[in-house]
Every structure is written in C-alpha cells, then in structure tokens.
C-alpha cells in the first residue's frame, strides 16, 4: 500500500476537524425533510404513550424477556421474527439505495433527524449561520454567555427527554414518569436514561457529520448498491461551467450558469462542494438543490443546475427504473415480507418440546400393552392462562397418560411447564422396532384452533 492513492485516506486521519456551520435553507426538499423529521420523531416520542388493550402498545420488556407490540406478545422463542424483520430492513435499505440513492441518510437516519433538530435549537439560541460564526469568534461577552447557555439548556433538555423516551420503550413509561417525578429511578433506568441522553447530545450536537464520515458503516458500502441508473444529487457541469461571478460574467462571451455564489457549499451539512462531483460525504439531503434552485430563479435562469438525476441522464442516455438489480431486490424483499406476514398470522401461542426417556425404550404395562415415556415441555406464549390437552396419532389405539396423577396441563402466560407423559399402545399394533408418532398439544378453548405438534420416535414391542 505504498502508492499515491492511499495518501488522502491518511490525510483525513490527521486533519483537524473544522466546525461546519450549515446555512439554513428553504425549499421543496427541505419541506419533505422537515415532514420526515416530524413524522419519525413524533412516532418515537408518542409511541410509548399509546395504550393497547390496557397495556402499553409497544413495550420491550427485557427483564421478563418478552416484547409487546400492539397486542402481540413475542417471546425469545419467536427470535425468527426479529431476525426476519432485520433482514427485511436490510433488503429495504438495499432496494431503496439502488433505486434512489441515499434516501435513508438524507431523510430517515436517526443521526440526520436528531441533528436537524439540534441545528434548529442552535439557530433558535444563536441565530443564523453568519451570527453563529461571528459569535464563536467573538470574546466572551454577556450576550455570548447567555446565547451559549440557552443553547446548552435547550440541547440538554431535549436530550434528556429523548433518553427518557428511549427508556420508556423498555420500562412502562407511565410508571417511569412517576419514578422520574419522585426521583426514585432504579440504577438501570438511571444509567440508560443518561447514557442515551448523552449519546443524543454528543452525536447530534457535536459529532454530527463526523458520525456519517467516520463512524457509519453504511456510508462506506452504500456505493456498492449504486449503478448508472441510481438517483444521485449532481451538479450539471456542462451547463454550469465555466463558473464565474459578478462583473466577470459580463466581460466573457459565454459564462456558465453557475454564478459561483457558493450557497450550495454553505448549506451543506457535511461541508462538501457538490460541484466537485459525487462524493461519499454527500448524505443526499438535497439542501444544495433547494439553495441553487432559489438562486437560479432569482437570476432568471432555469432551475435544476443541481438536481436529482442519474449518471445515465447526465450523459444523455435514458434511465431505467426497472432493471435486473432493482427487480431482484424487489422480488427478494416481497418474498421476505410475505413470509413474515404468513408466519406471523400462523404463529402458534404454544411452544412444545418432547424428549424420549433415555433409560428405557419401552415398558410393559400388562400382557397386551406397552408404553413409552417422554418428558413434555409446554410453554404458554399467549397473553392469558391456558389449559392444554395432549393427543397422539400414528399407531392405532394410542393413549396418552399424563404422569404424576395430573388431570391436565395448565400454564400461566409465559410459563414453561414440564410434564412426564406416558403413551400407551397395544403390543399387536406397535409391532415394529421403531414407529414414528405425532404428538399434538391443543389449547382447550371455545374455538380450539391453537395447537402445536411434534413427531417423535416410538419404540415398539418387537421380539
């Protein structure tokens, strides 16, 4: 690795960080971003407060090891759903990246969304870009202290509220608010509240674009999903160059449309110049589009000098939305979503496990009957106490006897019950060395639809 190309990478490691003061900008894309911020943060801050059937609608109850999501209770045994959901999320990310670039970064990533809010709060306390830059250079006057203090106050309050809401997803939020009010928080709630608050404060207040540049894995590999048909934010070099400003424009015969006002650089939250071409630092927030469109309108030139476009479109070729990459991603995504839906609908509230007794193959009950002994484990994954009956099929005349003089199996929600069971069969019917039988556990209820089944070995009377 001694070639010249590696040098810029080292550069970014020793270059001192320069603070970026993003200029505020309004426009159609910024409107959409604001909408996304309100929607996503609204969801985050309100969701824990919503009740569903008398319980908190979304509650990840880690000590009890169960997740409540809108009336559905998920147990560790339902790990497959979590895994499927994460895979679906990953493929959605791939699909939308291939289609429209870094939509996630620009509009939906928590880092972007919270940074936006922190920048708004900063503007509220310290004013616009120029004022903020002046304020940072100015000596510590009373006004500066006041403004910096207000900013910190707003930031810390907002961060604490965020931390509180975060913990509210794991501890019932209404009790939590009482605990906060009376200052009787447990050590874990306390730790996570402050930890998440601190993380929000640090990431959205100070690290900001550095999270995207240095910490985010997605930023490094997103380009793998890109092709020439992917939507990118691009500066139209042919139209814009040669860029020049003011007087010079009148002296030259054919100036480019770019008036070199550098507004696109000033509004960029990651501090790049989009006119240098596509860069990995670009989080596709489209702030430069809005800024440039505004300038183009004011100077009487057509909009779209910086715009959402594709590499093909820039080179004058047609762009295809339907192409193998997007089609394959879409098919995989839809298959996953469908299987997730089917699995969720058909999900049984019974989890069973049947183990054959290790010591004996079979026992002789009387001259005509033998029995196999098993240990049956039944877990109630439902929300209410339930009773179960056990049946077996596979050999004619199978009879299930619950051990320990038990008359039935009952389990509280979340309870795992272990019952020894004997399955009896006639010697004549069970005459092979090994049979396969199916044992079914059915919930006793009015609809009686929920059941689970398992196939096990049954050792027959074979001499």
């Amino acid at each position: 690795m001694s070639n010249q190309d590696t040098k810029p990478v080292e550069l970014s490691l020793y270059k001192a960080h320069e603070k970026i003061y993003p200029r505020e900008v309004k426009g159609r894309f910024q409107f959409k971003r604001k909408l996304a911020v309100w929607l996503l943060l609204g969801l985050f801050y309100l969701l824990p407060w919503i009740s569903w059937g008398g319980e908190q609608a979304v509650l990840f109850d880690l000590p009890q090891r169960r997740f409540h999501i809108f009336g559905i209770t998920l147990w560790p045994q339902d790990f497959i759903f979590l895994a499927l959901m994460l895979i679906i999320a990953a493929f959605s990310l791939f699909f939308f990246t291939a289609l429209a670039g870094r939509l996630w970064c620009g509009y939906a990533c928590p880092q972007t969304v919270w940074t936006e809010v922190f920048i708004w709060l900063e503007q509220l306390a310290e004013g616009n870009r120029n004022k903020r830059m002046k304020l940072d250079k100015a000596p510590w006057t009373r006004e500066k202290i006041f403004r910096k203090f207000s900013k910190q106050f707003l930031w810390i309050t907002f961060a604490l509220w965020t931390g509180f809401t975060f913990v509210g997803f794991f501890t019932p939020i209404k009790e939590l608010s009482m605990q906060v009010w009376q200052w009787t928080l447990g050590p874990w709630e306390m730790f996570w509240l402050f930890f998440y608050s601190f993380a929000t404060y640090g990431n959205a207040g100070f690290l900001r674009e550095q999270v995207c540049l240095y910490m985010c894995p997605y930023a490094r590999f997103q380009s793998a999903m890109f092709d020439k048909e992917t939507l990118i934010i691009s500066y139209d070099e042919q139209r814009g160059e040669p860029r020049m400003r003011g007087k010079k424009r009148r002296e030259v015969e054919n100036p480019g449309d770019c008036i070199d006002c550098t507004l696109c650089v000033q509004v960029c939250p990651t501090g790049i110049d989009i006119r240098d071409g596509l860069q990995y630092e670009c989080i596709a927030c489209a702030a430069c589009i809005d800024a440039c469109d505004d300038v183009m309108e004011k100077s009487g030139m057509p909009k779209g000098l910086i715009k959402y476009t594709t590499e093909n479109a820039l080179e004058g070729r047609p762009t295809h939305i339907l192409r193998p990459r997007t089609i394959v991603y879409f098919i995989i995504l839809m298959t996953l979503v469908a299987s997730f839906g089917v699995a969720l609908v058909n999900r049984s509230a019974i989890d069973m496990n049947l183990i054959h007794d290790r010591n004996t193959f079979y026992r002789i009950v009387d001259s005509a009957t033998i029995e196999n002994v098993y240990t049956l484990k039944v877990m109630n994954k439902g929300n209410e106490a339930a009773q179960y009956e056990v049946n077996a099929s596979g050999i004619d005349g199978l009879k299930v006897v619950l051990g320990m003089n038990e008359t039935g199996i009952s389990a509280e929600p979340g309870q795992l019950v272990t019952v020894p069971i004997k399955i009896q069969a006639a010697k004549d019917a069970a005459n092979k060395k090994i049979h396969t039988i199916e044992v079914t556990v059915t919930k006793i209820s009015s609809d009686g639809s929920d059941s689970a089944a398992e196939k096990v070995k049954y050792f027959g009377y074979n001499k």
């Binding site: 080292e10 490691l13 020793y14 001192a16 880690l62 000590p63 090891r65 560790p76 790990f79 979590l82 874990w188 240095y214 910490m215």
Partner: protein
Amino acid sequence: MTTEPIVKNQGFNERQIKRIFWRRMAIVLWVSFFTAAVESMVFFALFDPAYLGQLSSFGVDVSQWQGYALGFMFFWVFTFSAALFSGLVLALPRTKLAKRNPNA
C-alpha cells in the same frame, strides 16, 4: 502504539501523531462497541442470563439486567481486544528491506 514509525517517516509533527493515535483508538472503541452491542442482542435473544448465571462454574446469582450488562461488558472486552489487535497490526512499522540478490 506502533503508529509512530510510520507517521514519523511521513513527517508528521507531535500533535498530528497524537491525533492519529486518538482517532485510531476512537475507531477501535467504536467498532468494538458496535459489534459487542450486536453480539449481545443476538446472544441474549437466545439465552436467558439468569439461567446462565446458575449454570456457570462460579454459580453467580444475577438478575436479568445485571446479566445483560455483564454479558455486554464481557463481549466488549473481547471485541475491544480484537479491534485493538487489528489496529495494532494495521499500522505497519516501516523497516528497510535487506538488499536482495537481483539474480535470485
């Protein structure tokens, strides 16, 4: 750390060397934190820490929360060591190669 030989050869000053060192440490910390978090999530979705405490050779009695925290720290120690090791060996020391026989 072994960052020094490589950066000294490239003519960095003391401050820059320090900065490189701390940035590398930050990367090691961040990467190990992130992987440890993912590992703990998957691991504790499959295993209940309260049971594991009883099963362990020391017979520790831990609550779920303590188990999650201990498990996370446990994972973090190992991911941190792994990341630190990677960081260490990635920063190659610059040494002069011995002159080789051009006919070999």
